[in-house]
């Protein structure tokens, strides 16, 4: 029956039926237990019609009005529409269940049915919407014919709808059996799916499209929740046991929360500062394994590659006796191996070769391996026993009892190979043949640094590498290569680092190892394109650059209030005193030809052009260089008063640096002037135009020197105030001699023009405040959205703006700093050169790019191509606070950004924890989904129940019921006798 047929058959949106079931017993099963109890299930059935299919606004409005005036009429289900079936995990009907009481319609339009037995997740209520329900044993339940849901519902009234049907169908796709699964878990899964659909409001134009949309929308959720249900043992039971004493039952509940509290105390979020060490202890020890593996990363990588290479090369081994390894193994820059092969052929054709390999491979500076190779038959061509020692600068690996077994999916045509009569078909089949490599070995791995052993692992490693059914093309245009994935790896042993140790058992499975190959880099060197980069520019205040990896938007504020202080620090000004014969200071100035250097070259002006008594005046300096680009003249700012002269000129307009000089008449005696002059180079400092603010916001330093001994002191700028001949205490931060004083009092002057430190045995340190400026200019904020390698999300930053560009328009800023003529690195492509372009107003304006190198994407993932991993790890550590503790983790990746994490913590030798604590979390679309903490006594506390609901929940253990509620500071647990604990 088509979906359209289902809709027409029951066009009313909701049918309600209430089923009363005393569980569900497979009536065909001879060993079914009969039960006198019965359970009543009440449900509504919603067809994929009105509420889910997209309608026009007018249609919805009319429908809403009709619904308001005329109560919904429930279409009648008859007994013939409803069947109860027991199904297996593939959805195949194993038997039909006869209800204890036939379905009846209640007054509210719902239906009820009574079944014998308890809840069963394999007991499915099937609703046929298009006539009598004729489901047969052996038939696979099909959403095209039925709406269904398992009889696991704990609510008074539950829904049977397309969502429950799709959700249960997806659930069946995910499981191979119902073992380790409970009705309540499946109930939560279907309820969660229905809530998700309600929240997201999935609609479609047709029933077929709706079903497809539901499958797409629910797929990730069902995968994740099913993985959680499969991985976790059901800890929450509706009927908890009792110790027979309310006090002891109370202690059981309290024990659970005390354990949660203990774990909370071990985490930073709830612990006081004193407890931080405990967490550090746990984390530090748990990271031992990572340190060992990372420390030997390249060694292990080369060892794995050596095995793989040997395996591939040995495929060419022709069984000839007494061969030198060089005859079957091609050494190259990486491989420098020598060895001799001794071979014995038994009567049944098994070739046993002893192969001793010495030399080096990659970082393995010393390879000393002994292979005993048995060439067995045409599907297990090679079985290798392995012992040896590998040494690299970073690590050494000692291998014992190693066993590597190579298997092929089909028989290798050995005779044809040996006889050189391989046909094209045989060659093609050989090239596409599936190959797997199983390895198990005892391994002792030491990580070294400077000939010292830092960390160590000893234990057993077993792994299986298989050839993917898809060959891998790393770069477009290259030949496809066989690609091998590690299907599973198991590691068991003991990591140690100094006195610390961790016993670990790690198991990782790549679920898609049989088919996985990394992404192919489709772009090629030299590729010119207008598809990769584009920009949006509104001509006023917004510019967006779009790339395949990220986009950023620059937003301009043309009215940003800038405060700038031009500062010449102690390293950029130089003072000297000189004597000159002159009638006076003014005569000296009038007689001088002053020269200043700029980015264009030298410029000069006459001292006679200066007007005495001028403050912040301007004089023109003429070009005194041969540069053709140089302007003919530049403006020089100056101040000239009795006995002092200072002038400055912009050295470089973009950066804003000033160059200048000051003159100060120190004395005048008998026609000889003593003049102090200071050259300075001042850079702009943004943030304040106030000397006091600038000084208070930073530290300063000076040093004293005596007989080659130096002591450096730091001065807090907040300790300085305006005035001359003041004292400030500096704090020692470095000295090259031990007897240096911890503090040193320096004399200082702080004025609006300069800050100078003076002290005994110290050179003066002088900072000049040359100019302050406040103006309204351009400010640009950049918002970056990344999607490829930096993770999701965005962050804001202020892009670089020079002094000059703060005075530009936004367009001038973009032209100054645009990507035109730039080289951009994109992780998903490689290096991209952007051709020059004229900035134009518009959206999605294409840029011309040329790729000058491409990246391999072997280590990158996206939603379509990712390594689907399941990891289980068990660590046993000795923690100072908890004693010997076993920590188990299970991680199941169910999608690109979906997964399940389960963490169990168990004390094995102390009473610090009352019971094993398990934390379970799901992640959907990179967001935390469910989160719960359970223990071995059957208690579960979930984030959703406690935090999201905001209401108190009751938790019963035997005779005691505790009320658990979130209070402002955490969780409050109140027992029936009024006692409570705060966590």
């Amino acid at each position: 029956m088509s979906n359209q047929g289902r809709i027409s058959a029951l066009s009313a949106a909701i049918m309600a039926a209430s089923l009363t079931m005393t569980g569900c017993i497979d009536s065909s099963s001879s060993d079914s237990e009969s039960s006198s109890e019965s359970s009543r299930f009440q449900f509504t059935v919603t067809t994929p019609s009105d509420s889910s299919l997209a309608k026009s606004f007018i249609e919805r409005s009319v429908e809403s009005m009709v619904d308001f005036i005329i109560p919904k009429a429930h279409a009648a289900l008859t007994e013939q529409n409803i069947q109860i079936a027991i199904v297996d995990a593939s959805g195949k009907v194993l038997s039909i269940v006869t209800p204890k009481e036939a379905p009846v319609q209640e007054e509210d339009g719902s239906y009820s049915i009574v079944l014998e037995g308890g809840e069963r997740l394999d007991c499915v209520i099937l609703i046929s919407l298009d006539g009598p329900n004729t489901v047969q044993v052996g038939e696979t339940i099909d959403s095209e014919k039925y709406l269904f849901t398992p009889a696991v519902e704990s609510e008074d009234i539950f829904d049977i709808d397309l969502t429950s049907t799709v959700a249960f169908g997806l659930f069946l796709d995910e499981v191979e059996s119902f073992e380790n699964l409970t009705p309540s878990e499946v109930d939560r899964l279907i309820d969660g799916a229905q809530e998700l659909v309600e929240e997201t409001g999935i609609t479609a134009d047709s029933a077929e499209a709706l079903e497809a949309a539901l499958e797409e929308g629910l797929s990730s959720f069902i995968k994740t929740e099913t993985a959680l249900a499969t991985l976790s043992d059901e800890t929450a039971t509706e009927e908890t046991p009792s110790t027979g004493s309310i006090e002891t039952d109370r202690e059981k509940i309290k024990g659970f929360f005390d354990d949660v509290n203990t774990l909370a105390a071990l985490s930073n979020s709830f612990s006081s500062a004193e407890d931080d060490g405990l967490l550090d202890d746990l984390v530090g020890k748990a990271e031992l394994s990572q340190q060992v593996l990372e420390g030997s990363e390249q060694t292990l990588a080369d060892f794995a590659e050596l095995q793989s290479t040997l395996q591939l090369e040995l495929a060419d081994y022709d069984g000839v006796l007494g061969k030198d390894i060089s005859e079957i193994f091609a050494n190259d820059e990486k491989a420098q191996l020598t060895g001799l092969l001794g071979t014995v052929v038994t009567e049944d054709g098994v070739i046993t070769s002893t192969f001793r390999i010495n030399g080096s491979y990659g970082v393995l500076s010393s390879v000393n391996l002994e292979f005993i190779i048995e060439v067995l038959n045409d599907t297990t061509p090679v079985k290798i026993s392995l012992n040896g020692l590998l040494v690299s600068p970073e690590a050494s690996i000692e291998i014992a009892e190693g066993l590597i077994e190579v298997n092929t999916g089909e028989a290798i045509p050995i005779d044809a190979i040996n006889n050189d009569t391989l046909t094209d078909e045989q060659a093609a089949a050989l090239a596409a043949m599936s190959v797997s490599l199983k390895s198990a070995l005892m391994i002792s791995l030491s990580v070294n640094q400077a000939d010292e052993t830092l960390s160590h692992f000893s234990g057993q490693v077993a792994f299986e590498v298989i050839r993917s059914t898809n060959d891998y093309i790393e770069f477009a245009g290259e030949e496809a290569q066989p690609y091998f994935n590690t299907k599973n790896i198991e590691l068991e042993g003991r990591f140690s680092l100094g006195d610390d140790f961790v016993s670990a058992k790690v198991s990782a499975i790549q679920n898609n190892a049989e088919t996985f190959v990394p992404m192919t880099q489709q772009h090629v060197d030299g590729e010119e394109s207008t598809e990769l980069l584009s920009y949006d520019y509104n001509g006023t205040d917004s510019f967006t650059l779009n790339t395949p990896d990220y986009s950023y938007t620059d937003t301009a504020d043309a009215n940003y209030a800038y405060e700038v202080l031009f500062i010449s620090n102690a390293y950029n000004n130089y003072s000297r005193t000189f004597n000159v014969n002159s009638d006076g200071f003014d005569s000296y100035v009038n007689g001088q030809n002053f020269t200043l250097n700029s980015q264009y070259g030298d410029y000069s002006f006459q001292g006679s052009s200066l007007v005495k008594g001028t403050q912040h005046g301007t004089v023109t300096a003429n070009k005194n260089n041969s540069s053709t680009d140089a302007p003919e003249s530049l403006a020089v700012n100056y101040s000239y008063s009795e006995g002092t002269l200072s002038y400055s000129m912009t050295y470089e307009a973009d950066w804003g640096a000033l160059r200048g000089e000051t003159f100060e008449l120190l004395s005048s005696e008998e026609g000889v002037l003593s003049i102090k002059t200071t050259d300075f180079w001042a850079d702009p400092y943004f943030g304040t135009s106030s000397v006091e603010e600038y000084v208070a916001s930073r530290d300063f330093d000076f040093y004293i020197e005596e007989d080659g001994r130096y002591a450096y002191y730091s001065i807090n700028g907040e300790d300085l105030s305006l005035g001359t001949n003041q004292n400030v205490t500096g704090t020692l931060y470095y000295a090259n001699y031990e007897s240096a004083q911890d503090t040193y009092v320096s004399q200082y002057d702080l004025t609006d023009e300069y800050l100078e430190f003076n002290g005994q045995n110290s050179d003066p340190r002088k900072i000049l405040f040359v100019k302050s400026e406040e103006y309204v200019g351009l400010n640009v904020t950049r918002n970056i959205s990344s999607s490829f390698d930096l993770g999701f999300g965005s962050n804001q930053e202020s892009p670089y703006l020079s002094y000059g560009s703060t005075k530009d328009t936004f367009q001038e800023y973009l032209e100054r700093y645009s990507v035109s003529n730039e080289h951009i690195r994109l992780d998903s492509i490689g290096g991209v050169y952007v051709s020059p372009y004229e900035l134009t107003i518009g959206t999605d304006t294409a840029l011309t790019t040329t790729i000058n190198y491409v990246n391999s994407l072997e280590n990158y993932e996206n939603e379509n191509t990712y390594s689907n991993l399941s990891i289980s790890a068990e660590f046993e550590v000795q923690l100072e606070a908890l004693g010997n503790t076993k920590i188990s983790t299970q991680i199941e990746r169910t999608g690109f950004d979906d997964g399940v994490i389960i963490l169990s913590i168990e004390n094995t030798d102390s009473a610090s924890l009352n019971s094993e604590i398990t934390l379970m979390a799901t992640v959907n679309d990179n967001q935390l989904g469910s989160l719960s903490i359970a223990n071995g006594d059957g208690f579960v506390i979930s984030k959703d129940a406690l935090v999201d609901s905001g209401e108190a929940i009751e938790l019963t253990y035997g005779l005691e019921t505790a009320t658990v509620e979130a209070v402002g500071t955490g969780i409050k647990v109140t027992y029936s006798n009024g006692e409570f604990d705060l966590y």
Binding site: S272, E274, S912, T969, F980
Partner: protein, 365 residues
């Protein structure tokens, strides 16, 4: 820890203390009345040493001073003087009295004032506060023993709005955390700590107040003792007792491993509670200066606190003005004709700065 203390102990508690003060109407002091006189009086007597009254009311302190006392005694009464000896009437009141350590006020200020940080130091947190609302009937009896005029008042009735809290804590602020221990005994009508749903407690109260007035050659001497004897008894009052310790490490077990404890443990129950409010004593001497003027010297006392005052009375205007030395407040009271009297006292002209605020008025016919 900081949040734990802030939420229930400060914002919630202080707010519960102050809110009723400004939302109730209250009545007056003990005065003598002519026979067959009907009177209506209101009064509200408020003082907070550390935090201004408005800051407490708005729960946004802008300043804190050294201090350890908060009180608010407010009532309204409607009475009838039957003859020269007896009067009776109806009375409603609100009584708040809390003593706290200066550190408690500092913590309240630091945790509620915007942009205010805690000082990194140890804090001694103590708070002993009582709140009740009452309504009942009163009987007054006036008599003369020689020259000594005695006015007495007995009132009794129902009590509501119970809050009685006793907190002792040793806290310190380290690394942006308020840590330490605290013991809390808390009776309540509304649970500001954990929002426990409870049945409203009802109580019964009685109180005796007296005025003694003695004329001497020097002038007139008055001793007023409100709530000379008083008691409020609550049956089955909601009660929470809790001990908080932010150090979760409880002990080391026999294996040498750490045993952690909850952040706090306590008991929620119902139990009887008797509240006794402190006597409010006012000893005032109007000393004759001349036929127009009297000097006033006196002192007010509640529990261990004594507040002296000095002033003068202008007899022609029936007005008294006094300066209250420790509270730095000025009071004005005046009798306007035979039917109206009022009294005002404040330490600041601007309401947002006041720590001390009293007003009372009575109209009679």
């Amino acid at each position: 820890m900081y949040k734990h203390f802030k939420a229930p102990l400060f914002r919630g508690f202080f707010l519960s203390l102050l809110l009723p003060t400004f939302t109730s109407v209250h009545g007056g002091e003990l005065h003598s009345h002519s026979p067959r006189t009907v009177w209506f009086g209101i009064s509200s007597d408020n003082y907070s040493e550390a935090i201004t009254l408005q800051d407490l009311y708005e729960d946004e302190p802008e300043s804190v001073k050294k201090g350890d006392l908060i009180y608010s005694f407010s009532q309204w009464q409607f009475g009838y003087q039957l003859n020269n000896s007896f009067g009776f009437g109806f009375i409603r009141g609100l009584d708040i009295y809390a003593q706290h350590s200066p550190d408690a006020a500092s913590i309240y200020y630091s945790s509620n004032a915007s942009g205010q940080d805690f000082e990194e130091r140890d804090y001694k947190y103590q708070l002993d506060g009582n709140v009740q609302r009452t309504q009942g009937i009163f009987l007054t009896y006036d008599t003369l023993v020689g020259d000594l005029a005695i006015q007495s008042m007995f009132e009794a009735g129902q009590a509501f709005g119970l809050t009685s809290v006793d907190i002792n804590g040793d806290l310190s602020y380290q690394d942006d955390q308020l840590i330490g221990t605290a013991d809390i005994d808390y009776f309540y009508e509304k649970d500001a700590l954990y929002k426990r749903e409870v049945d409203k407690p009802e109580g019964n109260y009685w109180s005796v107040s007296i005025n003694l007035i003695y004329p001497s050659p020097l002038g007139k001497h008055m001793l007023s003792i409100q709530d000379l004897f008083n008691q409020t008894h609550w049956h089955a009052a909601p009660f929470t007792q809790v001990q908080i310790n932010t150090d979760r490490v409880a002990t080391t077990n026999e294996n040498g491993n750490t045993v952690f404890r909850p952040l706090g443990s306590g008991l929620e129950t119902y139990k009887s509670k008797t509240q006794v409010f402190p006597r409010q004593i006012d000893f005032k001497n109007n000393l004759d200066f001349n036929e127009h003027l009297e000097f006033i010297i006196g002192a007010k006392s509640i529990d261990k606190d004594v507040w002296p005052y000095l002033g003068s009375a202008i007899l022609a205007e029936d007005i008294e003005i006094a300066y209250h030395i420790k509270q730095e407040s000025i009071s004005v009271s005046q009798i306007l004709g035979p039917n109206f009297r009022y009294r005002l006292e404040a330490d600041q002209l601007f309401i947002d700065k006041t720590h001390r605020l009293l007003f009372s008025a009575e109209i009679s016919y």
